[in-house]
């Protein structure tokens, strides 16, 4: 038994029990038939009013026969405004223009593209706004008439939720990595300090024992042991600074000579530069010589930038030139720049270069520049990247200058 809707002239929906209509003279009482008809009609009306999904019934020409209350609300039209209109009115282009074609093609070929399958499509409300929706279409055939029933689920909320969820997930992943970094630094500090202590103790002890031994090579040995012990202590210092920094975000700053600081960092960072055919030039601004900085941290920033620049240049056949410069900037800021003649940066990479765990290197962790940024910002400065005129990249960062008169206030 199939229920089919028909539209009367006044726009009211009349429901006809087709099976009854198809067999009118089986000897039953007409009034019983009318009663059954009314009951079926009431049943359907109540279904249309309460079905939680939006439901639209159209005929084989695409004309709307009826729709559920949810569908009225969803599209923003009352039934009276839609009844008899082409359902394509509820879709944006290009479906709007194409819908009649879809229908005719189906009726001609019987090839199902949406019926019984269900698809995510876009709907258009009365006010012109569109929304994602899931559409399932059922088909009714009876006598000469042919109807289609569409069930529609609004996906707006669902999609918003999914997008937001994805955003949150990536933020959380990022944050947890960041927090893990802090914890890692703290745990590592303790774990690494123990062997460093043992190394330095053995070296210093050996150095003392050598004092009592005569021999041609002993002065050299003593010297080497002393230097090795110094390096163990230096490693300890770096870890201590890193841990204090992660824990408090406040580091120990001194008034430092920027030129010397850069020269020291370069000695370390430029190992292998000559072999790689990289020429290095320095340009120091005498007005930008004193800065308020944690020497070890700023050296880490410089080493990072210089090593990056060298790595990039080694990959290109260009002229390999590294230019390191300082300049006095506005409002007693001092600017430091590290420029390379490498292949430059793609804009989409440049915008997120300082984010943790973003890297262009195959083996990198993507932490170097993010640590640089954290250090520079904790120093009250900024770090950014620019294209180098003539090709390549320039990294620039600022530090707060320490003017002589300020230093003298402390006297």
């Amino acid at each position: 038994m199939v229920n089919l809707p028909l539209l009367s002239a006044d726009g009211d929906v009349k429901w006809i029990l087709h099976s009854l209509e198809a067999a009118p003279d089986d000897g039953r009482d007409r009034s019983a038939m009318a009663l059954a008809l009314d009951a079926a009609e009431a049943r359907l009306r109540s279904i249309l009013q309460t079905v939680p999904d939006a439901m639209i019934i159209i005929d084989d020409c695409g004309r709307i026969e009826s729709l559920s209350t949810t569908a009225e609300r969803l599209f923003g039209y009352p039934t009276a405004e839609l009844a008899g209109r082409n359902v394509s009115q509820l879709m944006p282009s290009p479906d709007r223009e194409q819908h009649d074609v879809y229908l005719r093609r189906y009726l001609a070929t019987g090839e199902r593209r949406i019926i019984g399958i269900g698809r995510i499509v876009v709907g258009q409300r009365k006010d012109g706004t569109t929304f994602p929706m899931h559409l399932t279409v059922g088909e009714l055939r009876s006598a000469e008439r042919h109807y289609f029933t569409g069930f529609i689920r609004d996906l707006t909320d669902q999609q918003l939720t999914e997008t937001r969820l994805k955003e949150l997930q990536s933020e959380v992943t990022h944050m947890s990595r960041y927090t893990a970094l802090g914890e890692m630094a703290s745990t590592l500090a303790h774990e690494i300090n123990q062997p460093l202590t043992a190394i330095s103790n053995y070296l210093r002890g050996s150095q003392r024992l050598l004092d009592r031994i005569e021999g041609e090579s002993t002065p050299m040995l003593r010297d080497a042991l002393g230097k090795a012990a110094d390096q163990a202590l230096r490693a300890g210092h770096i870890i201590r600074r890193l841990r204090e920094f992660v824990a408090r975000g406040e580091s120990e700053r001194r008034i430092e000579n920027l030129t010397r600081l850069i020269e020291d960092a370069s000695t370390l960072a430029l190992v292998g530069a000559r072999e790689a055919g990289i020429s290095v030039s320095f340009q120091f601004d005498p007005n930008a010589d004193l800065v308020l900085a944690d020497r070890i941290q700023i050296q880490q920033v410089l080493v990072n930038l210089i090593r990056n620049a060298m790595e990039v240049m080694i990959e290109t056949p260009n002229d390999r030139r590294l230019e390191i410069a300082t300049a006095a900037g506005a409002s007693d800021l001092v600017e430091v720049s590290v420029a390379d003649t490498g292949s430059g940066l793609a804009p989409e990479v440049a915008s997120q270069l300082f984010q943790p765990f973003v890297t262009t290197k195959r083996k990198g962790m993507g932490l170097g520049l993010s640590i640089c940024r954290t250090i520079v910002e904790a120093h009250g400065g900024k770090i950014w990247v620019e294209d180098r005129p003539g090709g390549g990249t320039v990294f620039r960062f600022t530090l707060r200058g320490a003017q002589i008169e300020e230093a003298e206030h402390g006297r």
């Binding site: 330095s200 120990e252 001194r254």
Partner: protein, 204 residues
């Protein structure tokens, strides 16, 4: 005999313990090693004189508890505390509990040896100890009034912003004073500054 000058090294990390024993022996000191505070306490009846160099964080009894226990037992052994964490509150607690000094790992051999000599000299002439205190006092003398005010607050664990508020100056200026204090006091870290202030304070 040497019993008076024995340095008791307590650390749960065997490599740190043995390497320190090696260093101290090479420097001509008599050393005994213990792998825990409790193991050390068991040998206490045999001990007379010397000093203790102990790690702060150890499983079982930690360095602070050991200091308290020695106090209860009325054993007046000078204690030098080592820490691989270097956090200021812990160091302050150790110094208040009567430690002679605290040393952050990894340490310079001279820093450790001068702390140990000062500890060993505690019962004797106190000459090393007072020389050390005098050096710190001399550095403090070179601070300006403002720098001294900033240092007192730094040692009390106050952050730059609070110090700036209390002194009615900008945090930026506090940073400059702080940098000057650290340079004049020859302190590498805040915990070292605290250590010096406590040594100087304890001498007064």
């Amino acid at each position: 005999m040497v019993a008076e000058g024995v340095v008791h090294v307590i650390d749960d990390d065997a490599d740190v313990r043995q390497s320190l024993a090696f260093l101290l022996s090479a420097a001509g000191l008599a050393v005994r090693v213990h792998d825990s505070a409790l193991a050390f306490l068991r040998t206490v009846p045999e001990i007379n004189g010397g000093c203790v160099v102990t790690d702060i964080r150890m499983p079982g009894m930690d360095g602070l508890e050991l200091q308290r226990r020695l106090g209860e037992l009325k054993i007046r052994l000078p204690v030098v505390v080592m820490t691989g964490h270097g956090d200021v509150p812990l160091a302050v607690e150790a110094m208040k509990a009567g430690a002679v000094d605290f040393i952050e790992k990894p340490f310079d051999d001279e820093a450790m040896l001068s702390a140990i000599r000062a500890a060993l000299a505690r019962h004797a002439q106190d000459s090393d100890r007072s020389a050390r205190t005098a050096a710190i006092q001399e550095r403090i003398m070179r601070l300006s009034d403002r720098e001294r005010e900033v240092m007192d607050r730094l040692v009390a664990g106050k952050p730059n912003k609070l110090i700036a508020y209390e002194l009615g100056i900008s945090p930026r200026t506090v940073e400059v004073y702080r940098a000057n204090v650290m340079t004049k006091m020859q302190a590498d870290s805040l915990s070292e500054l605290v250590r010096m202030a406590l040594i100087e304070g304890g001498a007064q």
